[in-house]
């Protein structure tokens, strides 16, 4: 692993006694790790506590740190393991957990459109509802699918790194991600199989989200956004 990687440089500096490097690592990675942990435990307070515990483990393990892998891979693996342990403890404390909670919360929430006075507020409310639905559907996915999809689609981790975090193969990660996407598409009621191919909104979404080279080739008006990374 190259020491040109800023995270590895910081971790090595921290290992050699530079405490400020630890703070820099925290500032770089606390946000993404907290977002991920929230997706796993679904509670901000618990996620924050797990974030702190993860960095405490990193702090304690500094003397044995070896730059064999990316720092983020190591960090997310520690965080995930702690989160799964926490879920186990929570499961024992609370034997039944209903994934319908989010839906009931949605239905009980008063319609803000009744008090909204203009289109911008409506748009915000609608976006909020869509995000709530997405969050609920995401939470219904099996944990490994959720982790794989989140780290790939949101955090931009390569499949190989996600495979290290999940302790599986890149091929399995590819399968986990595609199953997660397909499931979410179905559950969000947007299979794409029946929508109109020329749908402008859909194409705009594809253009904004895709890092695909193929999409660019197939749609000359699309953006250039590939990460330029290939497998095999």
């Amino acid at each position: 692993m190259q020491t040109s990687d800023p995270d590895i440089r910081l971790m090595l500096a921290f290992r050699d006694g530079d405490e400020s490097a630890f703070s820099d690592l925290y500032r770089r990675w606390a946000g993404p790790l907290l977002r991920y942990l929230e997706r796993i435990v679904r509670e901000r307070a618990t996620a924050e506590e797990l974030l702190q515990e993860t960095f405490i483990r990193v702090h304690g393990a500094r003397n044995r740190y070896s730059p064999d892998a990316r720092f983020s891979t190591w960090l997310f693996r520690i965080g995930r393991n702690l989160a799964l342990n926490e879920l186990d403890r929570a499961h024992r404390r609370m034997p039944h957990y209903s994934t319908d909670a989010a839906d009931s919360r949605d239905s009980s929430r008063p319609s803000l459109s009744l008090v909204s006075g203009g289109a911008p507020v409506d748009a915000i409310v609608e976006a909020r509802r869509e995000s709530d639905r997405m969050e609920a559907r995401l939470a219904e996915l099996p944990e490994r699918q959720r982790t794989a999809l989140w780290l790939a689609a949101v955090e931009g981790h390569p499949y190989a790194e996600i495979a290290e975090i999940l302790q599986t193969s890149s091929k399995s990660v590819k399968a986990l991600v595609h199953r997660a996407r397909a499931t979410l598409v179905e559950r969000m009621g947007d299979s794409g199989r029946t929508s109109r191919p020329g749908d402008r909104a859909g194409r705009a979404a594809a253009a904004g989200a895709s890092r695909s080279r193929v999409e660019v080739a197939a749609h000359p008006n699309g953006p250039e956004g590939s990460r330029g990374k290939e497998e095999g």
């Binding site: 702090h59 190591w74 976006a127 969000m188 299979s191 794409g192 193929v214």
Partner: protein, 222 residues
């Protein structure tokens, strides 16, 4: 079905579209996908649907984690690291593998007495396996006790034969009984004076039942 069993054309399309969105598609698959997207509007619609999912996920990530909040948490972290001296450092020295999730934990709630009962059952089986053998076998150390975290010297010593509740008419049961008596420490009980646990009482009841059944069997033969 294996993870890559593309038994349905839609499965292969989904897998390649997904990999393509993540920039993880190889050149051979890309050629196939390009050809498919060029001629199939449904495939393009599917790609757009996948992309909308990604857009929605990224919106979730836009919920701000305030810099002030992170700064406060960092300050709190430093305070904790400073406060936790020796004890904290011991805990923190654990490697990432030390925090690996406990497989299966939580799926089957563990009752507090279950481990003790499991140890007793394992020891009884071990004793049963050892008893019919030679003297060498009987002197062999009890297997697996160390593995379950019970030091061998913590086991109760075997008591004198006269103290054992044996029954000549039921040799196998007697063996079982002897094994259990070793586990329960009927002989020289290092915990003499302690109240028997519920598990002890349950096993004792089973032994009493064996006695009862054997006496009925003897009476029936008589």
């Amino acid at each position: 079905m294996s993870p890559h069993d593309d038994s349905r054309p839609e499965d292969r399309l989904d897998r390649l579209l997904s990999a393509d969105l993540d920039g993880e598609i190889d050149s051979g698959d890309r050629a196939w996908l390009e050809e498919r997207l060029a001629r199939d509007p449904t495939a393009r619609a599917r790609l757009e649907a996948f992309a909308r999912i990604d857009t929605g996920l990224r919106r979730l990530a836009e919920a701000p984690v305030g810099q002030e909040r992170l700064a406060a948490m960092l300050a709190d972290l430093h305070s904790r690291l400073e406060a936790e001296t020796v004890g904290a450092s011991d805990a923190a020295e654990k490697s990432p593998s030390d925090v690996a999730p406990v497989l299966g934990a939580g799926r089957f709630p563990v009752r507090p007495w279950a481990s003790a009962l499991a140890v007793a059952a394992a020891a009884a089986i071990a004793v049963l396996l050892l008893l019919p053998g030679s003297e060498d076998d009987s002197e062999a150390p009890a297997p697996s006790l160390e593995m379950v975290g019970i030091p061998a010297d913590a086991m109760a010593p075997e008591g004198p034969a006269s103290d054992r509740n044996t029954d000549a008419g039921l040799e196998l049961d007697a063996d079982l009984e002897e094994g259990l008596s070793v586990v329960l420490g009927y002989g020289e009980d290092p915990y003499a004076g302690d109240e028997p646990s519920i598990e002890d009482l349950e096993v004792i009841e089973q032994l009493d039942l064996l006695d009862f059944l054997s006496s009925r069997e003897t009476a029936g033969r008589g």
